[in-house]
């Protein structure tokens, strides 16, 4: 039987030290002395700083696990703000009895993902709670990225204007459908894989000409429908989306048909919406196509005159309707 997490792993004593040394510090390449804070050099006057907690169920799913997700999610929040992600913290809340082998797999995925994204995990924390007081493992990551002045505008959408084009990097909803399928033991002809991925390398290509990119946001909870409505609300612009130009995987469409979901409201963990200058949108899409995470990039609509603050969907049937902000709890614990 594999070794399990006990309350003493969270006590600060010898077991805790061993866990940190063997499983966290070793894997994250922390070689220096164990200090209370990481001391870091940041080569910029401007930083982006973000945090997110991960409580996904199941912990392991096709295409990733809670650890990979905890790195990708925070890296992406920094990247879509226009920042270059540099440093992460990782804090773990672990239920007594959790298998250390599983923890090792999760930490390993975090280390691998951090390495490929080019970020360093520089500080962390571990707490252990009694059995039944949390569900196996929860992870919090915070991240710091450096930001250049010329990309300050992309998180607020302040330079979004009529005529701009909407771009996404691939079909939305794969993450939500993969989680739903794993939870309810559904199977598909072609197995579904979560889109969970770090997008910072892709986004570096997108922002080659910073002035051409007017807004970016990752399509997590609430999906494309939520992000577009937030953008419309923030900028009071009208937005039109052409439903038939949004790429959606067959399995996602099929499941949505059966369960009455809208693929545009489903969460992804490796998809981003970009609003770009009309004259440069095609060139951006082309650059995205040469990155693995942007192979499915497509223009799906634009900013229009009138309809201030609203999102209009030109439905694939040819009729028009408002695309509303999703409401209620579609799927709890999806990230």
């Amino acid at each position: 039987m594999s070794e399990k997490i006990t309350l003493s792993h969270g006590s600060g004593g010898r077991q805790a030290q061993a866990l940190i040394r063997d499983h966290f510090a070793a894997r994250f390449g922390m070689t220096g002395p164990m200090t209370d804070s990481a001391l870091l050099a940041v080569p910029s006057a401007l930083i982006a700083f973000t945090t997110d907690s991960y409580v996904i169920d199941p912990l392991f799913f096709p295409g990733g696990n809670i650890g990979k997700l905890a790195v990708c999610g925070t890296v992406n929040d920094l990247a879509v703000s226009g920042a270059v992600p540099k440093y992460l913290s990782a804090a773990f809340i672990i239920e007594e009895g959790f298998e250390i082998d599983q923890l090792a797999v999760i930490v390993s995925s975090m280390a691998d993902e951090a390495e490929s994204a080019g970020v360093k995990v520089v500080t962390g924390d571990t707490k252990v709670v009694e059995k039944g007081k949390c569900d196996r493992i929860f992870i919090n990551t915070a991240g710091v990225g450096v930001l250049s002045e010329e990309l300050m505008h992309v998180s607020s959408g302040s330079s979004v204007r009529e005529g701009d084009r909407l771009i996404i990097n691939g079909p939305p909803g794969d993450h939500a459908v993969t989680i739903l399928a794993a939870r309810s033991k559904l199977s598909f002809d072609k197995p579904m894989t979560s889109d969970c991925a770090s997008l910072n390398h892709l986004i570096r290509r997108v922002v080659e000409r910073p002035a051409a990119v007017h807004f970016m946001r990752d399509l997590t909870r609430g999906g494309l429908a939520a992000v577009l409505n937030e953008l419309a609300g923030m900028t009071m612009c009208g937005i039109a989306v052409d439903e038939s130009s949004v790429p959606v995987h067959e399995a996602v469409r099929g499941l949505c048909e059966i369960l009455g979901f809208d693929p545009l409201s489903l969460a992804s963990e490796g998809r981003v919406l970009i609003v770009a200058d009309a004259d440069e949108a095609e060139a951006i899409v082309e650059r995205m196509h040469s990155d693995h995470q942007g192979r499915g990039a497509a223009i799906i609509g634009g900013i229009i005159a009138g309809r201030e603050g609203r999102v209009i969907l030109n439905s694939s049937a040819g009729g028009n309707r408002f695309l509303e902000m999703p409401s209620g709890q579609l799927l709890p614990r999806i990230c």
């Binding site: 038939s244 067959e250 469409r253 099929g254 048909e257 009455g260 809208d262 609203r310 969907l313 439905s315 694939s316 049937a317 040819g318 009729g319 028009n320 309707r321 408002f322 509303e324 409401s327 209620g328």
Partner: protein
């Protein structure tokens, strides 16, 4: 995707819309009674494809919307009872009862669990012999056979901790009440899924007694537009009848096996519909030996009924008013804070209007 894309073909949709414009020579009002149709019509933007003289109005076909507040109160009381587990479909969670929703009851510690089928509830009963598991049986002819089969299964296994709080209803009597109350329509878009079970013959009385057009249709945009065109043609030629557009699923006689199961377990009864009152022989109740599964036999204390708050769900369900006619609509009543049941379900008229038209 097969069985979907061919029914959403943009060229066919445009062609059908063109034919409707050409043949719609007067004003027409058609009522769709199925909540699934209401949802499809707005999701695909069908009203924007129809000429202004063709009006579609929604009827009482969302099972959540027509569930009486009393029913929610009873479920809530059962869920708070010692040793009881209440199982339900997700939509019911947010329907306002007199005091609270079942979601609020769960947050306060009542044992309320979501299931996707009656069978799942029965499985829960098998796994928890120490608890009484109550299944909230709502829905029309589409879900009643599933409940019937599950009750028969429980009977044959001799399970004594599975119960049904039954609110199953049948559609044709409600359609007749709407006509008798004098709603002015030219015809019905008849419910496709109900007709899979009942057969299209369940609607034969409508052209015969009331001289109105009827088309049973599917849920894709070409289905609905074809049905509208067929209805217009019936009206124009003054030859009302029941036609089946949804031939890939519906027959005249329906699913005989499902009908046999329903008749084995249920008998007709007068039941209350939210907004419509008690309708004669419009519900199903457990019959004979199956009555031992009836959860309404448990004694519960129910809160006193409170006066209406201005919500006009009843008029909306009868097709007399449209959601924006309600003073509460989109101000006091929204999908996040529903006052009436029509705002709760994805198939409810108010919810659909709010989602797709609220700020027009």
């Amino acid at each position: 995707m097969r069985y979907v894309d061919e029914f959403r073909n943009r060229r066919h949709i445009a062609m059908l819309a063109g034919m409707i414009v050409k043949e719609a020579t007067r004003d027409y009002t058609f009522m769709e009674v199925c909540g699934g149709h209401t949802a499809s019509i707005h999701r695909f933007g069908i009203p924007s494809l129809l000429p202004p003289q063709v009006r579609l109005i929604s009827g009482p076909g969302c099972p959540v919307c027509v569930t009486a507040a009393r029913y929610i109160d009873t479920l809530t009381a059962l869920a708070f009872s010692e040793g009881m587990t209440v199982t339900l479909f997700g939509d019911l969670m947010r329907v306002p009862g007199t005091v609270m929703t079942l979601g609020e009851a769960r947050a306060e510690g009542a044992d309320v669990r979501l299931v996707l089928s009656a069978h799942e509830a029965l499985q829960l009963a098998r796994e928890n012999p120490g608890r009484k598991v109550v299944f909230s049986a709502i829905g029309f002819e589409t879900t009643a056979p599933g409940t019937a089969v599950t009750v028969m299964q429980a009977e044959s296994e001799g399970i004594d901790n599975f119960f049904v709080l039954n609110a199953h209803k049948v559609m044709p009597p409600a359609m007749e009440v709407i006509l008798r109350e004098g709603v002015h329509i030219d015809g019905f878009i008849c419910p496709g899924h109900v007709a899979v079970i009942t057969g299209s013959s369940a609607f034969d009385f409508i052209p015969r007694k009331y001289g109105l057009a009827c088309v049973v249709t599917g849920f894709e945009p070409t289905d609905i537009l074809t049905a509208v065109l067929m209805l217009i043609r019936q009206v124009n030629s003054r030859s009302p009848s029941v036609e089946i557009q949804y031939r890939r699923a519906v027959s005249v006689a329906g699913n005989i096996k499902a009908q046999v199961y329903m008749n084995e377990v249920f008998e007709s009864a007068d039941v209350e519909w939210r907004g419509l009152g008690v309708i004669s022989l419009s519900g199903l109740k457990l019959r004979g030996t199956y009555r031992r599964f009836d959860a309404s036999a448990f004694p519960v204390d129910l809160p006193e009924a409170v006066a209406a708050n201005g919500c006009i769900c009843g008029d909306i369900l009868r097709g007399v008013s449209r959601p924006p006619d309600c003073a509460l609509f989109a101000s006091h009543c929204t999908p996040d804070h529903p006052e009436g049941a029509c705002m709760v379900s994805d198939e409810g008229s108010c919810n659909t209007w709010y989602k797709y038209h609220s700020h027009e």
